[in-house]
């Protein structure tokens, strides 16, 4: 069984929570082996991350290089190609960095590549059986991956449970592999990171979100959701296609490339429930899904599901909420 390495994403001296998930995934591939944490970076932040992993990994490979202070995937790739033993299995989180790094890295390592892996189901000889999804999570697939010459696997964040994979002792060994990295050059040079400007409404501060997806169908229909949000004292948020179509501002987008929200109540209206969208909903809100497709993936995660046309359902719900609230207002006046 080839050795398994886990790529540790980190920021400001802290390892990302994906580290524990990758460790759990590595254990599924080789229960008996000790996966290695690969930590790439520079300076005090890098040392802090390596140190923090000593409680969970028994071996930590540190790759320090000044030009790796910012994780430019092209430079990281060069470093990994020089350091990883032939035939290794490398696990990487399937986020914006993993998408940038892994496909090209697999070519340079002559290893197999599978993206966005949800589970590792079986290991048999040189073949892994993996679980993926297609079409925005509407269907799942089994994938056979030949690991004879190694593999790079991108693991979906949040898909593999971490419980039970943490060791108690802080005895991990840090192995400095920096000398193997050598000089690095890139044809793509990082310049800066731009933080988005605040939008008209801060959806992260609302307890009730009426969230619209592609199912709202056209820009003019967004007002139906606004009416409901006003009646409920909440705000309108949305999925990505609504922003791509310029029906709402980017600041209203919930998801991995948008905002992370923690409302009490989340109404998903005409949203299919892709993992990128769900990644932005935290704090376990009471989730209501309204979708005309009874098989929509959103119904697997919502608390309450309603199969209906949002264009008809939402106005009726608004009307009813307005009646309720005016009754309540009447009561409180008495």
């Amino acid at each position: 069984m080839p050795r398994t390495f886990t790529y540790i994403v980190h920021k400001a001296g802290l390892a990302d929570e994906s580290a524990g998930e990758l460790l759990a995934a590595a254990r599924k591939i080789g229960p008996a082996q000790t996966p290695v944490a690969l930590v790439v970076g520079y300076g005090a932040d890098l040392d802090a991350v390596c140190e923090s992993l000593r409680g969970t990994f028994s071996e930590i490979w540190k790759l320090s290089n000044e030009s790796l202070a910012y994780p430019n995937a092209e430079l990281v790739r060069q470093a990994l190609v020089r350091v990883l033993p032939q035939g290794s299995i490398l696990l990487v989180p399937h986020n914006h960095f993993g998408v940038d790094l892994s496909p090209g890295l697999s070519v340079k390592l002559n290893a197999a590549y599978v993206s966005d892996v949800l589970d590792i189901e079986r290991v048999a000889g040189n073949s892994l059986t993996l679980v993926r999804q297609e079409f925005g999570g509407q269907v799942s697939t089994h994938v056979q991956c030949d690991i004879t010459s190694g593999a790079v696997l991108n693991i979906r964040p949040g898909a593999i449970a971490t419980h039970g994979s943490v060791q108690a002792s802080a005895s991990g060994v840090i192995v400095d592999q920096s000398a193997k990295v050598g000089p690095l050059t890139a044809k793509r040079r990082y310049l800066e990171t731009l933080i988005p400007e605040a939008g008209d409404v801060d959806i992260t501060r609302h307890a009730v979100l009426v969230s619209v997806g592609r199912g709202i169908q056209e820009k003019d229909n967004v007002s139906i959701a606004e009416d409901l949000a006003n009646a409920l004292g909440g705000a309108v948020s949305c999925s990505r296609p609504v922003v791509d179509a310029k029906w709402l501002e980017k600041s209203r987008q919930v998801g991995s490339s948008g905002q992370t929200v923690r409302p009490k109540v989340y109404l998903a209206c005409g949203i299919s429930g892709s993992f990128q969208h769900l990644a932005g909903i935290k704090g376990n809100p009471f989730m209501v899904a309204i979708n005309k497709n009874p098989k929509a993936p959103i119904f697997r995660v919502a608390d309450v599901g309603i199969v209906d046309d949002v264009l008809e359902f939402l106005p009726e719900l608004t009307e009813r909420v307005l009646e309720e609230t005016s009754v309540a207002a009447g009561r409180s006046r008495e």
């Binding site: 340079k108 297609e134 793509r188 490339s257 109540v265 009471f286 599901g305 008809e312 309720e324 309540a328």
Partner: protein
């Protein structure tokens, strides 16, 4: 600038509910509406906008079968100057690596300053662009949501977490994977498609590209999809049934209990 855009025809998730076929070895493909993969269409629009500024040509290429020609025509109707269909039985069963190998052979038959792909195909996994770049030894950037032509190279923005943008300079030639929302793709009507109906689309096969079965197709694939299945439901939602009025009654009561109605 000479720009190549790689595009794929896929079942359109905004037009169809995707379901398994009876045997569980594929999705149900009868009566399914196919379209050009969503981000690929943004990539074509972006290429057209770049050549509007710099001059040059946009070529659209797909690896597929005869039925995939329709997306090439659609993208020509948008304004792409040329198109090419890469098709051969020997390519069937290729994994992402195989597709990238085929595209590499095609790229090396021409001369392109910039190659664009979509971020991800709906039925695959965000890999072809990055693999193609590595095979060509070109620099690569994924999730690109803005491109400026500057000093003989490009200044690009990548979409990273929370809507932040990572800005980089990148040398040409390069490969970029384009994210949805980078622009507003122009509308294509039936009339536009009719106007390009008689334009010739050259076809390339394994022998014209100098490829053999050891590199592409099912036998070369290290990654193989073996079946489709319906994901397990998890806890699953409580489905509200009955008349719309009854449903709204129950929903309002539930929302009141959860603090969503005051």
């Amino acid at each position: 600038m000479e720009i190549l855009v790689c595009a794929k025809r896929v079942p359109d998730t905004s037009e169809n509910e995707i379901q398994l076929n009876g045997a569980g070895n594929d999705i149900e493909r009868d009566d399914v509406v196919y379209s050009v993969n969503e981000p690929d269409n943004y990539a074509v629009e972006e290429a057209l906008r770049i050549v509007d500024r710099t001059g040059g040509n946009v070529t659209v290429v797909t690896v597929g079968g005869d039925e995939d020609e329709e997306i090439l025509r659609r993208e020509m109707a948008m304004g792409a100057h040329q198109a090419a269909l890469i098709s051969d039985e020997a390519f069937e069963g290729s994994d992402g690596r195989g597709i990238a190998t085929i595209l590499k052979a095609f790229v090396q038959k021409g001369k392109y300053d910039l190659i664009l792909t979509g971020v991800q195909a709906d039925d695959a996994g965000a890999q072809v662009g990055g693999m193609l770049a590595a095979m060509l030894d070109y620099p690569f950037a994924s999730l690109v949501n803005a491109i400026d032509v500057e000093n003989g190279g490009l200044k690009i923005s990548r979409e990273i977490e929370g809507g932040s943008k990572e800005i980089s300079a990148i040398d040409l030639p390069c490969v970029l994977s384009i994210q949805t929302g980078i622009n507003e793709p122009r509308y294509v009507g039936m009339r536009g498609i009719r106007q390009v109906a008689s334009r010739e689309i050259p076809t390339f096969d394994a022998s014209t590209l100098g490829l053999d079965g050891g590199q592409v197709g099912e036998d070369a694939a290290k990654v193989k999809r073996t079946d489709y299945f319906v994901p397990v439901a998890g806890k699953g939602a409580e489905m509200l049934e009955g008349s719309r009025e009854e449903i709204i009654d129950r929903l309002v009561a539930m929302m009141r209990a959860k603090g969503g109605l005051n």
